[in-house]
């Protein structure tokens, strides 16, 4: 990309480090050519609590390993010894950034396995909560991409606005971060009085933010230099690695569960997820910025179309001993990071036999990140990681 090759100091890595017969890198740390650099878990640049084991030569990474497990709480084990209703407080903590998708997936899975229809009002409210969750997550992530390049201003504004969304969450659901709003059969409350007005006020502020962040980040010469042509996802990797969501969309693949497998009331909403055909950090950030605008628009649509009132919960069996016959299913929903799926197996008792979370970060943060970091500059590691929007708790659960 750099035309003036005098300044291009990237060395040619096709020859060394040498590879052995099986194609593994031969990295001899004692040769003084390489340094092993650990990033994380105590590291401000790493998303969440995970760590990267980097082998670097100069400023360049020649080998990367993702280490996870710092947040492992054994959710899947814990849920196997909890009743279905008790799984809810547990499962929402599997991803702290957007807990609502856990709630929804588990509830939808239980409903599918035991054949419960959710009232329409509850469906709308669920859609609203899921979109709000996406919004608050994007408000952190979109400017967060600037944050990885030390452009902290956007993060400051974004986190403030996210807090306003959390206030609305608190009003609607009673919880600030962990909402516990979606339960099997329905949701836990109608919109409070004046909610639509306050939501619109907040959305106006976000509209303003969208413009500001465009000025600050996306029209920023330095940001462009840092983010363009770095951290490229090749289109052929999409299927090879199982990339989903915005990361796949930026490479030209339309992967959006809301469109592909419409759930809740998404078929009644008018939206078109964006795709791009060149996936570097800048485009991925830009795509998320477009997603942010789309989410704001979706929330406005929901606010306009949501019924005034209605049943919030279908009658369910007594939650204290709700048994589900032996069966299995896979439930997916579109989180801000991509397809978020629950593989659920019931065995006829009041406790699930197995609930397996398939989070997008599982592939993004491990196999894909390890692959993308090779030959990257160590200064870009945090940026690449954030641009994939990894979330460690959903990897290790």
């Amino acid at each position: 990309m750099m035309k003036n090759s005098i300044f291009n100091i990237s060395p040619d890595r096709s020859k060394y480090p040498e590879k052995d017969a099986e194609g593994n890198l031969m990295v001899d740390l004692d040769s003084q050519k390489y340094v092993k650099l650990w990033q994380g878990p105590q590291h401000p640049g790493v998303t969440g609590n995970m760590s990267l084991e980097l082998t670097i030569s100069g400023d360049e990474i020649i080998q990367a390993k993702t280490h996870v497990g710092y947040l492992h709480r054994g959710f899947e084990k814990l849920m196997e010894r909890r009743k279905y209703i008790q799984c809810f407080p547990t499962c929402i903590r599997m991803c702290v950034a957007e807990p609502d998708y856990n709630e929804y997936n588990l509830a939808a899975g239980i409903e599918e396995l035991s054949g419960i229809e959710v009232p329409e009002m509850a469906q709308w409210l669920r859609t609203l909560v899921l979109e709000m969750a996406r919004l608050q997550s994007l408000l952190r992530v979109v400017p967060g991409q600037g944050g990885t390049f030390a452009l902290g201003l956007g993060v400051q504004w974004g986190v403030y606005l996210r807090d306003l969304i959390l206030d609305l969450f608190e009003e609607l659901t009673g919880g600030r971060v962990y909402h516990m709003y979606i339960l099997p059969g329905g949701v836990r409350g109608l919109l409070p009085d004046g909610f639509k007005k306050r939501m619109e006020e907040t959305l106006k502020k976000i509209d303003e933010f969208v413009v500001n962040i465009d000025n600050l980040m996306f029209s920023n010469a330095v940001f462009k230099q840092r983010a363009k042509d770095v951290g490229i996802i090749q289109p052929e990797w999409i299927d090879q690695f199982g990339i989903v969501g915005p990361n796949a969309r930026s490479a030209g693949f339309m992967r959006d569960v809301r469109k592909d497998y419409p759930y809740l009331v998404y078929d009644q909403l008018d939206f078109e997820p964006m795709t791009m055909n060149y996936s570097d950090i800048y485009n991925r950030a830009r795509l998320r910025w477009h997603d942010l605008i789309m989410t704001v628009d979706l929330i406005r649509q929901i606010m306009a179309k949501i019924p005034e009132t209605g049943d919030i919960k279908a009658p369910t069996p007594n939650v204290l001993h709700w048994k589900i016959p032996r069966n299995e299913t896979y439930i997916r929903s579109e989180s801000s990071r991509g397809e978020y799926g629950f593989y659920m197996v019931s065995d006829g008792t009041d406790k699930p036999r197995r609930i397996n979370l398939r989070g997008p970060s599982y592939v993004h943060a491990i196999s894909l990140l390890e692959h993308m970091l090779i030959n990257a500059n160590i200064a870009d590691t945090a940026a690449i990681m954030v641009s994939l929007q990894t979330c460690p708790p959903e990897i290790e659960r």
Binding site: Q42, H43, G69, L71, V96, W157, V159
Partner: protein, 232 residues
């Protein structure tokens, strides 16, 4: 460190046992709760040197003044150990702006005074937390967030998370909640400031005094003691 080097260390140990300084030899220690445990300093302690007790300044006026400065300048280690770390960004951003109260985030344990244990600790993280905690200079303070640090919280029956933080490191302030809101965290900082100004936040010395007991507890659950081979 590879297994090979481990073995070498072990061999050395046997040879050099009698040449070791007394504080580095294997010995039996009585813990505060009365049980007797065996301690092998060379294998059990992370730090090169056993931590020391640093007594407060003997002149009350000076100590009070220094404590005032310590209280008003709380540098927090940026280590998100659990869910609670999601509430740290709001704390340092416009909504709550903890900077106003002298609370700042630092990226390295060496320069931090406050360790916020933001919720549950998996065993794997605990190892890093202990390491970071030991790297922090004296005086240091620990704020424990949420149920998980008090009695296991949600994860009381998990095989991979600890139940009681006070078994592994001394804690100054506990904040109830799952997770506590930023406001509660700010109130926690206020409480911590009170404690520091009153000279009651000497938990770092407490850690040293009961070092063997804490180490025994840590050792009981952290089975893999290998750390990256440089001092990070």
């Amino acid at each position: 460190m590879t297994n090979e080097t481990n073995n070498i260390v072990e061999d050395k140990l046997e040879l050099e046992d009698k040449f070791l300084a007394p504080e580095n030899r294997k010995r039996q220690v009585t813990t505060p709760d009365g049980t007797i445990i065996e301690v092998d300093p060379l294998r059990d302690y992370f730090s090169d040197a056993r931590p020391q007790i640093y007594r407060p300044n003997s002149i009350p006026v000076i100590e009070n003044f220094l404590n005032w400065a310590r209280a008003e300048s709380l540098w927090v280690l940026g280590f998100g150990t659990g869910c609670g770390s999601i509430e740290l960004p709001p704390l340092t951003t416009p909504r709550f702006d903890a900077y106003r109260f002298g609370v700042q985030m630092r990226a390295t344990p060496r320069q931090s005074n406050v360790f916020i244990i933001s919720g549950y600790l998996s065993v794997k993280t605990l190892k890093r937390v202990v390491r970071s905690y030991e790297q922090m200079p004296n005086p240091k303070y620990v704020i424990a967030l949420g149920s998980c640090t008090i009695n296991g919280g949600m994860y009381y029956d998990s095989y991979n998370t600890i139940n009681r933080l006070d078994q592994y490191m001394p804690v100054d302030v506990y904040i109830a909640g799952c997770m506590p809101r930023p406001e509660a965290l700010l109130a926690g900082f206020n409480k911590l400031k009170e404690l520091i100004k009153a000279g009651k936040a000497e938990k770092a010395n407490e850690y040293v005094e009961n070092f063997d007991w804490y180490k025994a507890n840590q050792k009981k659950i952290i089975k893999d003691w290998n750390m990256p081979d440089y001092n990070w």
